[in-house]
């Protein structure tokens, strides 16, 4: 891959502004029309999906170069949430997020990188986590759970907690409750006491080589285990294992599920029964990497047919966000007695991003928090008591936004809600 491969896609941008807005069929009022946090915050066209494609064309045409002053400011003030991609593809047959990823990768190739992200990648290369503020050690969260180690013992299911959970004591209860729920359902689950990082965030940040290397090493570890299923509660890990690794051609002989999918299935099979009432009104936030970006990767190799029409040989099926993980978390929540669920205006494939993606949490925390605040305000407008989601990145940022804004809203991982109804 490279930016050049997406020249035709970028050329197809007609500058219509669809990338700035939710798919406009869905809008029910003046508010919540925006889907792109970046242009919403910074205002200039350069910060929109289409604007970024224009920049990509300028770079390809050598109208400007990768060391151009101010370029990184634009490139890295984007969560890579993919909202622009989905809104564009409501109408168009072209890629938006892929070339944006390639622009970042080209920057890294030219050593034009962001120093904060370099620090994170150095940690990854040294076998460390991709979080800057780790407050816990590997495996410590599971020390009292008596869980098998899948790198040493035979298991049916791997549970992968993810960097943002295992290295943050505030998130430990989610991982611990996940294990307890699995144990309750008699699932033969194992973890790795020395759990590897998925590497997915490296890809989002533009460090493609590092992400691929990590994927290869991880897949070797996973393939050595006897597990038939890998479950994670982190949307970014899920995206990495399910979508990115597949994109890289690195695939194992096991199923990859998010905790919401796994537990929704157990509930449907009658292996878990949420019996306790949880009297609460909640709204569900679709994490970008579980929702619109969580749909399976679609392999395609071919070429655009010459002529006056954008068609491909063989026909190309675009990832438009149609097959993201939308229903399992909702089914799970709706199975809980007493719990009432309300939708935010922007949901499923056109959900507003939490603000954490693309390295923004680290490179521009103020902007990340601004984005989360917008989401908290949207949630509050539904008169909900809590915002439930399925990604520790979203949860961290929502909690910070709530603290800063002195909101009374609560934040829960979907597992925490299920645990209340069962454990």
């Amino acid at each position: 891959m490279g930016l050049e491969e997406f020249k035709d896609d970028m050329s197809a941008c007609c500058r219509c502004s669809a990338c700035k807005y939710v798919p406009l069929e869905t809008l029910k009022g003046y508010d919540h029309v925006d889907i792109c946090p970046s242009i919403s915050r910074f205002g200039y066209r350069a910060y929109s999906g289409g604007g970024r494609l224009g920049i990509g064309m300028a770079l390809l045409n050598k109208e400007m170069d990768y060391s151009s002053p101010g370029l990184l400011e634009i490139i890295y003030n984007c969560q890579m949430c993919g909202g622009c991609d989905i809104s564009c593809k409501y109408a168009m047959d072209m890629e938006v997020l892929d070339p944006m990823n390639e622009i970042r990768a080209e920057c890294i190739k030219r050593n034009n990188s962001h120093p904060v992200l370099d620090k994170i990648i150095t940690s990854l290369k040294n076998g460390g986590p991709m979080v800057l503020e780790a407050n816990a050690k590997q495996g410590e969260w599971a020390s009292e759970l008596g869980t098998k180690d899948y790198t040493k013992q035979s298991v049916q299911v791997i549970y992968h907690a993810g960097c943002r959970t295992r290295h943050d004591k505030a998130r430990w209860p989610i991982a611990q409750q996940t294990i307890k729920l699995m144990q309750k359902a008699n699932i033969d689950v194992g973890i790795a006491m020395d759990e590897p990082c998925c590497g997915g965030r490296a890809y989002q940040m533009g460090y493609q080589t590092e992400a691929i290397e990590k994927a290869k090493r991880n897949m070797e570890i996973f393939n050595k285990s006897s597990a038939k299923t890998l479950v994670t509660g982190c949307a970014e890990c899920y995206f990495a294992f399910k979508v990115l690794y597949d994109k890289f051609g690195i695939k194992g002989d096991f199923e990859i599920l998010h905790t919401s999918e796994f537990f929704a299935r157990l509930i449907q099979q009658g292996k878990l029964k949420p019996g306790k009432k949880v009297n609460m009104t909640v709204t569900y936030h679709d994490p970008c990497h579980l929702g619109r970006q969580g749909e399976p990767y679609i392999h395609w190799k071919g070429h655009r047919v010459p002529g006056q029409l954008i068609v491909f040989d063989p026909p190309k099926e675009f990832r438009r966000g149609m097959n993201g993980v939308y229903e399992p978390p909702r089914n799970l929540l709706q199975s809980i007695p007493g719990l009432k669920m309300v939708e935010m205006d922007r949901h499923k494939e056109f959900a507003w991003c939490c603000g954490a993606g693309g390295g923004v949490s680290e490179t521009n925390p103020e902007y990340a928090l601004w984005t989360a605040t917008k989401r908290i305000e949207e949630a509050a407008s539904t008169k909900t008591e809590a915002i439930v989601t399925g990604c520790p990145g979203c949860e961290n940022l929502f909690e910070a936004a709530i603290r800063k804004n002195e909101s009374r809203l609560k934040v829960y991982d979907i597992v925490e809600i299920l645990a209340r109804a069962i454990l």
Binding site: C14, A18, L27, Y30, G70, Q308, I310, V311
Partner: protein, 516 residues
């Protein structure tokens, strides 16, 4: 030309450092060419700086500085078309996206007041909550809701919701010299209800043929007429993008695409439908547009186009009926069926028999979200003949004539072969109409040369066969072609430009300039 440090600082002092930029990456993002009339060149000339003003006072101060510094400015809302671009160095861009407030929705007097950054969807969604609707620009609901921005504003809703020139009421205008002028009733009694008085009316002088395309100051607020809405306060959808199906609207509406044996029969049908005042939407809709709009990708579009080609003639109308009561709906449906029978209109079964397709089309065309699929997905670029506004049949005939030239381009493989039928819009239930010819192409030198040759021939047809001044006529070159045949209007337009803009500060390449 590059802004001097002092000049940049002077602008920065007005809006603050966050809202002005000359970062090259930002400048290039504004100069990436539009897909509308896309030339072979990827980039237009760079602006000297981009400014994001938020108030009238800021705009006035910026415009006055431009006059002082002899710098040109160009303002835009969503900035879609090529007329938003710089044509030479020495120009700054005012991106009005921060001016995005709905000032008022006046239910009793049925008008709304908007700033340029409000898009059509936002206003429509708010109006629907109140039992009202606004016209949508045919290019799409992603365009500004202001009736004096975004070309003429013909669209799917023009049958019941008219178009920009007729919808524009009072107006707030920052002139090219930086004065603020309030036109229509706003200028005398501070109310928005009328564009022509009591108070000064400059509607014709300001709008010209097709609105000034950024070339005559900045329109900061405008009132637009609203219309009754027979549907629900909001529309529930099922499904995921791009395949939404509305679940709460179909019972109130009926949608049909009729194919007629001849232009005469189609013309008769649109006249009768107009006279009966039964249609919420009425639009000439050809098989290529229908296929593009229903399909969610180009491959599917080709399949549908082949299917529709067997079923539809080149003379088709899309009709939407909405009932304000069950009896109203029943009456309108009966009348429509009778007209279809009388004019030998054959209904496209894909619409009449497939409820999900019908409901999807219904909502897409009421909201006008399908236009990007129709005109841009095929190639990323759209040009073509934007006809004028006059008697429906005259406009339709003009497009039929130019379609013959389009066929030559298809034969030469310069453009996408979607057949060459016209599309037309009937306005306000009357005999008034507008026609266009959709041309989709990949921008390269050969195709562009073909496009220019086509436009020259379309102009020749319009002039020699007396079809009037089409909607694509803007810029010095075009006005100079048509003016001598139309009472030398171009000279008057140029005098108006010179009177309002003696320093030529408002970049007028897509309107008219003060050249002699």
């Amino acid at each position: 030309m590059t802004l001097s440090k002092n000049q940049y600082t002077a602008f920065e002092d007005i809006v603050g450092p966050e809202y002005i930029s000359n970062n090259p990456a930002i400048l290039y993002s504004y100069s990436w060419r539009s897909g509308l009339y896309a030339p072979p060149q990827d980039f237009s000339p760079l602006f000297e700086a981009i400014i994001l003003p938020n108030t009238n006072e800021e705009i006035q101060a910026i415009v006055k500085l431009c006059n002082k510094f002899k710098i040109q400015f160009k303002a835009s809302s969503t900035g879609w078309g090529p007329y938003n671009d710089a044509t030479a160095p020495g120009c700054i861009k005012l991106d009005l996206r921060r001016m995005n407030r709905i000032i008022e929705i006046n239910v009793k007097n049925m008008y709304a007041v908007v700033e340029p950054g409000v898009i059509g969807t936002q206003l429509q969604a708010e109006c629907m909550k109140l039992g009202l609707n606004c016209n949508q620009n045919g290019a799409g609901t992603n365009c500004s809701a202001s009736p004096i921005i975004g070309h003429c504003g013909f669209g799917h809703l023009s049958q019941s919701g008219s178009y920009g020139e007729r919808n524009q009421l009072a107006l707030e205008w920052i002139t090219p010299e930086g004065d603020m002028v309030r036109l229509g009733s706003l200028g005398s009694i501070g109310a928005w209800f009328c564009g022509d008085g009591p108070g000064p009316s400059l509607r014709g002088a300001i709008r010209g043929n097709v609105v000034p395309m950024g070339g005559l100051g900045v329109f900061t607020k405008a009132a637009t007429k609203l219309y009754h809405w027979p549907g629900p306060m909001s529309v529930e959808l099922k499904g995921v993008s791009p395949k939404y199906v509305p679940t709460s609207i179909a019972k109130d509406f009926l949608i049909r695409i009729y194919s007629f044996p001849s232009m005469d029969m189609m013309d008769l049908a649109q006249q009768k439908i107009g006279e009966a005042e039964i249609a919420y939407e009425l639009m000439g809709f050809n098989k290529g547009m229908a296929a593009s709009n229903i399909a969610t990708n180009n491959e599917e579009m080709l399949e549908l186009h082949a299917e529709f080609s067997k079923l539809l003639t080149d003379y088709c109308l899309m009709v939407i009926i909405g009932g304000y009561s069950p009896r109203d709906f029943e009456y309108k449906t009966k009348v429509l069926n009778q007209i279809a029978t009388d004019t030998q209109g054959k209904s496209l079964t894909k619409i009449s028999d497939d409820t999900e397709v019908a409901a999807g089309c219904l909502w897409r065309w009421l909201r006008a979200t399908g236009s990007i699929r129709e005109v841009f997905r095929a190639t990323g670029c759209f040009a073509g003949e934007v006809g004028g506004t006059d008697v429906f049949r005259l406009m339709a005939d003009y497009i039929v004539e130019t379609a013959k030239v389009k066929q030559k381009m298809i034969d030469d493989k310069l453009i996408f072969n979607d057949g060459a039928p016209p599309f037309t819009q009937a306005i306000e239930h009357g005999h008034y109409g507008h026609g266009e010819l959709l041309i989709r192409y990949i921008p390269n030198p050969a195709n562009w040369a073909g496009m220019m040759d086509f436009m020259a021939k379309a102009n020749e047809i319009a002039i020699k066969q007396h079809f009037g001044v089409p909607g694509h006529v803007f810029s010095d070159a075009q006005h100079d072609i048509y003016g001598p045949h139309v009472m030398n209007y171009h000279k008057w337009l140029r005098k108006l430009k010179k009177s309002f803009d003696p320093n030529g500060a408002s970049e007028g390449s897509h309107h008219i300039t003060v050249k002699e």
